[in-house]
C-alpha cells in the first residue's frame, strides 16, 4: 500500500500540538489586542493588534487585519491586511488579498489580482549581472 507522502513542510516544521483543533477566529469575531501562541491560526474576522504565532497563519477572504507586526511561520493572505509581515517561512498573497505593509519571508508570492503596496524582503541569490553594486 502506498504511504501518503509527507510534505517537506510537515517534516521541517511540525510543532507538537496538545489538541487536534487549531485556532480559528470566525468571520463574526472582532479582536482588539495582542494574539500570540505556538499553533496555526486562521483568521476570518477582524483583528486590530499584533499577531505572533509559531505555526502557520492564514488570513481568509473577507478578513480584516490591522496591526504593526505579524509574525508567523508561513503566512497566507486572502483578505485585507495593513501590517508589516515577518515570516520564517513562505508568504503567499492570494488573488483576493489587499495588503499594505512590508513583507519578509523565505519566499514571497503574489497572485494575479492581488493588491499590494509595500516593500518585499526575501533572501535569494541575485544573478551575477545584477549582484554588483554599480554595474
Amino acid at each position: 500500500m502506498a504511504q501518503p507522502k509527507a510534505s517537506s513542510r510537515d517534516v521541517r516544521h511540525n510543532p507538537p500540538r496538545n489538541r487536534g483543533e487549531a485556532a480559528l477566529l470566525g468571520a463574526n469575531v472582532r479582536i482588539r489586542g495582542r494574539i500570540s501562541g505556538d499553533t496555526d491560526l486562521t483568521i476570518l474576522g477582524n483583528v486590530e493588534g499584533d499577531i505572533a504565532v509559531r505555526g502557520d497563519l492564514s488570513i481568509g477572504d473577507g478578513a480584516h487585519v490591522e496591526s504593526e507586526v505579524i509574525e508567523a511561520h508561513g503566512v497566507s493572505i486572502s483578505g485585507e491586511v495593513t501590517s508589516n509581515v515577518t515570516a520564517t517561512g513562505p508568504v503567499r498573497i492570494g488573488s483576493t488579498a489587499r495588503v499594505r505593509g512590508n513583507l519578509k519571508g523565505s519566499e514571497i508570492s503574489i497572485e494575479d489580482g492581488a493588491q499590494f503596496a509595500g516593500r518585499i524582503e526575501a533572501d535569494f541569490e541575485l544573478p551575477a549581472a545584477l549582484s554588483g553594486k554599480s554595474r
Binding site: R17, N18, R19, E21, A22, A23, L24, L25, G26, A27, N28, V29, R30, I31, R32, G33, R34, I35, S36, G37, D38, T39, L41, G45, G49, V53
Partner: protein
C-alpha cells in the same frame, strides 16, 4: 457555521467580541463578549469579564460572568467572580467563589 476556536496554545490579550459561538481552549486576558454560546474547555484560562448566551465552563475563569441564558459550571471548573444568569448549575467538583445573581 464554524464557530470560533481559541486553541489551546493561543493567548489573546485584549478584547474579543464575537457574534457567534466561541470555544476557548487557550488563554484570554482582557474581555470576552459573545452573542451566543461560550464553551470554556478544561485547560482554558480566562482572566476577563465574560458576557454571552449559554455558557459551559470546565476551565478557569477569573472575572465576572454575565449570561443572557444559562451558566453551567462543570466538574473541574474554577471560577472566581460573580455570576449573573437566569439559570445556573454548579456541578459536584466545580470550584466557585463569588456571588450569584439570578434576577
Amino acid at each position: 457555521m464554524a464557530s470560533t476556536v481559541i486553541g489551546a496554545n493561543l493567548t489573546i490579550e485584549g478584547e474579543v467580541i464575537a457574534d457567534e459561538d466561541v470555544v476557548v481552549q487557550g488563554t484570554i486576558r482582557g474581555k470576552l463578549s459573545a452573542k451566543d454560546g461560550v464553551v470554556v474547555e478544561s485547560g482554558a484560562v480566562i482572566e476577563a469579564d465574560v458576557t454571552g448566551g449559554s455558557m459551559s465552563v470546565a476551565g478557569q475563569i477569573t472575572g465576572n460572568i454575565t449570561s443572557s441564558d444559562r451558566v453551567e459550571l462543570q466538574s473541574g471548573a474554577r471560577v472566581i467572580g460573580n455570576v449573573k444568569a437566569s439559570r445556573i448549575t454548579i456541578a459536584d467538583g466545580a470550584h466557585f467563589k463569588g456571588n450569584v445573581d439570578m434576577d
